[in-house]
Amino acid sequence: MDKPVNDTKTTMTAETAENHVGRLSAISARSAVIVSIVSLLTLTIGAADTPGVMKFEDIAATAGVRVRHHTRQFKGATGDVLHMFTSGGAAASAGDFDNDGFDDLFVTNSNEGTTSYLYRNNGNLTFTNVAEKLGVGGGNDAKSIVADSVWFDYDNDGWRDLLVVRFGTPILYHNERAAAFRDVSASSGLTTFGNTIAAMAFDYDNDGRLDLLFGNYFKPLNLLDLPDPHVLPNDLDNAVNGGGVTLWHSLGNGRFENVTAKAGFAGHTGWTLDVGHGDFDDDGDQDVYLANDYGTDRYFVNDGDGTFTDKTETALGGFDTKKGMNVDVGDYDNDGKLDVYVTNITDEYMKECNMLWHNNGDGTFTDLSRETGTCETLWGWAAKFGDYDNDGLLDLFVVNGLRSAGPDNYIPVLVEMITRPGVDFTDVRQWPSIGTMTWSGYQKKKFYRNLDGQVFKEMSAAAGVDNDKDGRGLAVADYDNDGRLDFFQANADQEPLLYRNVTTGAGHWIQLKLVGSKSNRDAIGARVTVKTAARTQIREVDGGNGYAGQSLQRLHVGLGASTAVPSVSVRWPSGAVQQVTAVLDRLTTVREPASSGSR
């Protein structure tokens, strides 16, 4: 293993910026190759006055990550239906578990007997699967289905730990300085059964320790040994019999306490598909948005005292009936307020439209998906903001597609059931088998370029990302440290894609790796404000926003043609505010002053 990056920084001050390329060359001989690559790339990117032409190429095969995901196969007459309802767990999480400066990847597998993958980034756009060697490949047993994962440093020791959530009980792995992972689930208290499809780490009470929010799809019944066939949604637009969410508060001794009810989340019993967080009201604590299938999304405002208040009706203007799949957070119009993007279903047979919740800054949001051109992405799954051409505006990539199979279409069959008088939707036995039929399959992905902060242009074909796989999760990161955001697309029952960003003429950029001291070490919840002459941008470190995925922890900010050193301000979760000098076209590590904090 390479010398950990953090070890090279122990003498740095909080405002010290470092030349990432120079650091890498000192780390290992292997990295010399990267230095050359990055040096060459910096000659071709970051110099344009006009926006670059966004382009990506799939390198999954050469990178060694083109290995198929397998959804869980169920036995019995209802197995076909349960398989459909649990096919969402193709997830990917980016995280630098070995502190070598390159983001690694954890990729789930879900069928019994299969193992998940921990792809260690070799630093040269190849990866090595070390899941079994390091002990994190398991989890798919006769009672459990792996569905999502999150990297987070729960004990603030400087090594990111790994949480694997399941339709079952979660698994928490402690990172043993990248030499191995130790299963600490039992001692952590995370032993409650749930049908968890989403998870995120955030410090909701700003106590310096990362807490966990689980999004649960089904109510907590073991789907693999069904005691009762009435497990499916009680209403296909307004379901209230799902698993809701579970909030786990970190006690700081390696243990977590279930505070769902105490915090105000117990009333939510929807079919949660994704959970997202951000300081939407800019009051210094993290609020929560829940995307729910078969009904109403929920918006919870953090009251600052360990509780949350459901503000859905007033903030979102009512209760939606859509099939919420994804929560991603970003300030797409650079107005200094965090917005939310939610995918729904917009297909030939159902016209829901996605939701781009523009934050009005007064506690309310307005859906501008139609106005911005981001409404129709077919059967949407993950969507991630990212400034893929470094022009200072957040673009958006959206994956879609449920099930690509034979020529027959499942929808007419399904509608026959749905419209049958008196049918009980909750009864899994009522749902017709899908067999070899296709359901919203072979759908082209959508890539939206942000033109001006108001309107997006769909350009997936031109960008080379219009694949028609059955996409699920996304993990956006700068896997080759060249200053351009790449992304990994996990697909259900299919091979994944790793899109390397080869955009030419991209703008300048900065990347910031924040390291908390009084705040949680991952700095999740920290807000950065970056000012240039052209614009002001904000970013927040998040702990797993976006369906079935976790993206880069470091903050990536495109600067366009500006070569001036931007003004950077960091607001830590502790409340401390720090001015930082970032280096153009480089990664800058920022440490929170040890004496910081007002909370």
């Binding site: 296909l236 637009d237 307004n238 009936t321 859509k322 279903i345 016209k351 509608v415 419209t419």
Partner: protein
């Protein structure tokens, strides 16, 4: 049923405004009971049922209370159970489902639309009528192609056209030309669609809906027709034209 002219919109608007005033003055429960009593006293009276439904739309829109739509559906369900041979009661029953569609979620919309079709079919089985054929035929056009129901819509609309050609010309007959042309278009038979719209324009030269269709091509025409059959938009189900535009 699609809106098709300014006069129709105005008529419906007046009806809705009047209904709204009634609701505001007396409270919904009392007004609903009064309107329901009027319908129950004359179950086959298309107009009485129509007035009740229009009042429901206003009341539900005012306070976004979907329960009011459900009350109307339940009322008409009981009405047709009590009066199974009242063809117009079945027609209004179907419209009660349609009235709730834009306020419902995407999957519930499918269920409501299917229920409406069932009620329209029952009405036609009891007593074939132009309004019944037009309504059911037009309703089929709202279903995406994947459900293969457009052909049934065309069959109903062709029958409605025959029926209206054998009657004195009424202003609302223009709707059949619009919808039938749309049906052909949905079946990818553009020449037949254009011919139908042209026939309609010859008979109703003031029809903006027909002019719009004939003036557009390609994606523009598709957008026009897609917008016309968007289930999230409220369809004007007022039948007032039947007695005000003779």
């Amino acid at each position: 049923m699609r809106r098709f002219g300014l006069h129709c919109l105005l008529a419906a608007g007046v009806a809705l405004a009047l209904a709204g005033r009634v609701v505001a003055q007396n409270g919904w429960d009392a007004d609903a009971a009064r309107l329901e009593a009027a319908v129950a006293a004359s179950p086959d009276d298309l107009r009485a049922g129509n007035d009740y439904r229009m009042a429901v739309i206003v009341a539900a829109r005012t306070d976004r209370n979907l329960v009011k739509y459900d009350r109307a559906i339940a009322f008409f369900e009981k009405l047709v159970t009590d009066h199974p041979t009242a063809a117009n009661a079945h027609l209004n029953y179907g419209f009660a489902y349609v009235d709730k569609i834009p306020a419902a979620g995407a999957i519930t919309q499918v269920i409501l639309a299917n229920n409406a079709l069932g009620a329209f079919t029952k009405s036609l089985d009891l007593r074939p009528s132009w309004i019944g054929l037009y309504t059911r035929g037009n309703s089929y056009l709202f279903w995406p192609r994947i459900f293969l129901r457009t052909k049934y819509g065309i069959a109903d609309l062709e029958e409605a056209l025959k029926m209206q050609n054998a009657e004195p010309k009424r202003p609302y007959h223009v709707r059949t030309y619009v919808s039938l042309g749309d049906g052909y278009w949905k079946m990818d038979d553009l020449p037949k669609a254009i011919a139908t719209w042209k026939d309609g324009l010859a008979a109703f030269p003031d029809s903006a809906a027909l002019r719009d269709r004939l003036a557009k091509q390609g994606d523009d025409l598709q957008k026009l027709i897609d917008d016309s059959y968007d289930p999230s938009k409220r369809v004007d189900t007022s039948l007032q034209d039947l007695w005000t535009n003779q």
